[in-house]
């Protein structure tokens, strides 16, 4: 194989593995770089050797059937201190708001949360579920049978609370009547004659692009 092609493939492998959250399978890399899988394996071995030889603080490791960058074993003390300080785990403002809305308004459907937050909350909700802070607690009795979410026991434990009753009281808002009505309309799916379905928050048109809010 031409040297130029290999150099390009080597750089592409580095970039793609760097961009990925999960280990990348050699088949995927082969397809992206348009080279045989064998060649990908050879490139990855060479890259790992390069990093070791250059004394880099990271390595390219083959894990769970794919390649990923990870920290060099020698550097464990530094990484450990960094991770323990909590620098890597922080709830984003968006996640915290969504979690707070669920905590105070449970049981609540995804569409209802979206209506309140004004954005698509799918990925945020997935992360909160994955962390074990929220879970499915039932189905809306109305048409559509939307899944309803609530907070978990783990959520209470982490916050150091005995029960949901121990949550601090919400501030008293004095919103105009129309605002309350509009919010209520958005929240009470069963009362809406238009029959809004789960995936259509009241302002669906506003989401003129596919982006959703940040995952934490």
């Amino acid at each position: 194989m031409e040297e130029r092609v290999i150099t390009e493939a080597r750089r592409a492998v580095e970039a793609v593995v760097m961009a990925s959250v999960e280990p990348v399978e050699p088949q995927v890399l082969a397809q992206l770089c348009e080279i045989p899988v064998d060649e990908v394996e050879r490139i990855c071995r060479e890259l790992a050797e390069d990093y070791e030889r250059d004394g880099r603080g990271f390595t390219l490791a083959r894990v769970a059937g794919g390649y990923r960058f990870q920290t060099h074993a020698d550097m464990a003390p530094y990484v450990e201190r960094f991770v323990l300080e909590g620098q890597t785990s922080r709830l984003s403002g968006a996640s915290l708001e969504t979690l707070a809305i669920i905590a105070y308004k449970q049981p609540i459907s995804r569409a209802q949360i979206s209506a309140i937050r004004g954005v698509n909350v799918e990925s945020t909700l997935a992360t909160l579920e994955q962390r074990g802070y929220v879970e499915e607690v039932g189905h809306d009795p109305g048409p559509g049978q939307a899944i309803l979410y609530g907070t978990t026991r783990r959520f209470l434990e982490q916050l150091g609370l005995d029960s949901l009753r121990d949550l601090p009281a919400l501030a008293d808002f004095v919103p105009e009547a129309e605002v309350v009505e509009a919010l209520e309309r958005g929240l009470r799916l069963d009362r809406s004659p238009a029959g809004m379905d789960d995936d259509a928050p009241i302002d669906a048109e506003r989401n003129d692009d596919s982006s959703s809010e940040d995952s934490p």
Binding site: R90, A100, I101, L170
Partner: protein
């Protein structure tokens, strides 16, 4: 709640003005009023889905232009007071400044777009630490106090602020068409041509002249007066018709005047609906 419709060629009135002046090299003051309006209407019609806000803003800038231009056409334009002359330049400069500002940010947005697009081709590593480090990380919720949670709930649940109708461009109403109609009815002799110039003689406030002109139009619409104009931009002659010769009599339709009084609130209401 509002929804976004951004399929328009022009995103706003300033953009359209910029386009007309810079690309079409149009001298706005050389246009007839009807042409200014037609050009704007044509653009509004070109919008695939007219979003009320955009249409309203188009109307606003069109009416600003019409107003600026109309001032030139009113009687006495030749003998403008120095103050008025300065005022006109001030208005012009204000419009110019806003157009320049609009153009500046339009160009800046082009660079930001290029940077954003370049940024899309670059992906940051967000995989985080591998095991065993990943499990060592403290639970993010451990750092969250109940107080922080309630603060987030208050932030998230607070009703979003309502759209406030922006009225900075609306001139205070100093003269009403209703009053002007009554004054004109008292001033006009039956069956005799009177120059519009004479009807506004001695009036210094330009807005009052405009209102008196609107009153003439209203009376014309109701068949109470007849208007003749021999040449474009020539003197306007107003004649009050004889009650017996005009079909419906000279009884003033007072309800029709309500439209003038209600005009601003009607606009406000339609915006609220949106």
């Amino acid at each position: 709640m509002s929804y976004a419709v951004s399929t328009s060629v022009y995103e706003g009135p300033f953009e359209l003005l910029l386009h007309l002046i810079l690309k079409e090299e149009v001298d706005l003051w050389d246009l007839r009023l009807t042409e200014v309006i037609d050009a704007f209407l044509a653009e509004v019609e070109r919008l695939d889905h007219v979003d009320l806000d955009t249409a309203t803003e188009f109307l606003l800038i069109a009416s600003t232009l019409v107003e600026l231009k109309a001032r030139r056409l009113l009687p006495g334009a030749e003998s403008l007071e120095l103050d008025e002359e300065l005022l006109r330049f001030e208005e012009r400069d204000l419009l110019l400044a806003r157009l320049l500002e609009c153009k500046t940010f339009k160009d800046a947005s082009g660079v930001i777009e290029r940077m954003l697009r370049a940024g899309q081709g670059i992906v940051a590593r967000t995989a985080g630490p591998e095991e065993p480090f990943a499990s060592m990380a403290p639970d993010p919720l451990e750092r969250v106090t109940p107080a922080a949670l309630v603060a987030a709930a208050n932030r998230g649940l607070v009703p979003k602020p309502r759209d406030v109708v922006d009225t900075y461009h609306v001139a205070p109403i100093r003269a009403s068409v209703r009053d002007a109609v009554e004054i004109l009815l008292a001033l006009l002799p039956v069956g005799e041509d009177v120059s519009f110039r004479n009807l506004v003689a001695g009036i210094e406030d330009r807005l009052e002249v405009i209102v008196r002109f609107l009153a003439v139009l209203e009376l014309f619409k109701q068949g109470i007066v007849d208007i003749t104009q021999l040449e474009t931009f020539g003197d306007l002659r107003v004649r009050k018709l004889d009650a017996r010769s005009s079909g419906n009599g000279t009884a003033l339709d007072a309800e029709s005047l309500d439209d003038w009084d209600d005009a601003p609130s009607a606009v406000a209401a339609s915006r609220e609906d949106h």
